[in-house]
Symmetry: C2
Subunit: 277 residues, 2 copies
């Protein structure tokens, strides 16, 4: 009973049986309420994704926004309107139950943070799954590049920049970036490694001179926690998946649903299979 492989871009690892598929096992624990918080470290090696659910009336503009801004908004999958199942991302994957914690928004204001969204599901909802930096961080760590925020057990520091995204319909706003400090030789290697992963933010958008992209003080991130940048290190900046969420909220859609930060969708896809070469 393997996953149907109807997406040639991302051959799903799970031609595995369900009981051999760690991503499926993790989703079942989440679905049954055994996990309600952070998904970091669950089903290692599997792609975790950011969620944005919008009414169909906004879906074209949002997809166009993602197409025009692929570095902050790398689309892994788009559901059919009203269909909660996304078979290209995983076996029996139900977007209404398989994320530990959701956020429900009305007119851009968070109104609820439930553990499932079955009771509020609607026939006009379209789910967007976007790549997340967990995937390229695995590749960086495997390349021997230390990740300071992981070493200190905190969230990566994120900053609003003066880099404007390309607008689409009601969606527009500045790019949010994440920052990882590294030695110059590691920064070169990090460009090489992350260039292989355009589906999960790709190469850095900036290296070394934060004031040029409108960041005044690295010690005061807009999201996440600050990390030290040592005197022999450069700050390296990647487009961040917080961008689409912040852009969508700024547009104040009448209704939308996202994942709660850190509480991601665990897919059957393998991080290594997202490499473009």
């Amino acid at each position: 009973m393997g996953v149907i492989m109807n997406d040639v871009r991302f051959p799903v690892s799970a031609t595995l049986e369900a009981d051999m598929n760690p991503a499926y096992q993790a989703r079942m624990r989440i679905r049954h309420g055994e996990v309600t918080g952070n998904t970091a470290g669950m089903a290692p090696g599997h792609v975790q994704g950011n969620l944005m659910i919008l009414p169909q009336a906004l879906a074209h503009d949002f997809l166009l926004f993602c197409q025009r801004n692929p570095q902050p908004c790398p689309v892994l999958a788009v559901s059919e309107p009203g269909d909660p199942m996304i078979p290209t991302l995983g076996l029996d994957l139900d977007i209404r139950t398989d994320i530990p914690r959701y956020r429900v928004w009305k007119d851009g204001v968070m109104v609820d943070e439930p553990n499932d969204i079955k009771s509020i599901w609607r026939d006009d909802l379209v789910s967007f799954l976007l790549g997340c930096s967990f995937s390229f961080e695995q590749a960086l760590i495997e390349a021997g590049i230390p990740m300071r925020h992981i070493e200190q057990g905190s969230n990566v520091p994120m900053y609003r920049t003066n880099i404007q995204t390309v607008p689409a319909g009601v969606f527009h706003g500045p790019m949010v970036v994440s920052m990882r400090p590294m030695k110059p030789a590691d920064a070169v290697r990090a460009v090489q490694v992350t260039s292989r992963f355009p589906r999960v933010h790709g190469a850095p958008v900036h290296i070394g001179l934060p004031h040029m992209i409108g960041i005044e003080d690295l010690d005061r991130p807009d999201f996440g926690q600050a990390v030290e940048v040592k005197s022999d290190e450069l700050p390296v900046f990647w487009a961040c998946g917080v961008t689409p969420q912040s852009v969508a909220m700024a547009a104040r859609p009448p209704f939308c649903i996202t994942h709660s930060p850190g509480s991601m969708l665990i897919t059957d896809l393998l991080n290594h299979r997202l490499a473009s070469f």
Copy 2:
């Protein structure tokens, strides 16, 4: 008077003045009726694109189809509804006049092949520009890999396959591929070279065993002209930009406009800038 760079993915080469911009010069010759046929070889080094113009009602499904099938349908730009100008692709670029020859389709049947579309332009039309193999062929030639169809002055052979695209709304159908014969060592190099160009079809979708993808006879292509595959060569297959056109026609949209084969949009973008690393 440089082009406004409002697309971070494709920094336009043309911060050039208009009179130093060969792509702009080529478009002006086309706009004024001095060129009405094939654009091959015009403005060397500049990206040429495939055109698909659809009514807004079909735009979301078509964009979603492209998102799900990025190898055959690499989107370079999507216009605003009703707006014929696409500044991210070139200086003063007007999609109604800047292609030498168009095809106008009603219910999937070609009804006209005009030199401009000003008189039939509508406020609900959305233009999609898709990457074309001209771009990666330049990179292959620069890597010293001979292109037989270019040497013999013919169109590349193209074949319908048994590889199904991922459907989206009304759009579905088999992938069309182009074929280039090459020595095995060149095939390895060609995988490396074209992997750098995901925006213009990317890596090959198949090498060497055409019957496995439903091609019975290499000497009888569905489009273009056959080329010899020598005994020390492998046929190498790439996803082809004819796919979106054939898929769109099969859906019989009430109205749409495409470029005429070989008569492409010449953009200010440089082929070399499409490389992902």
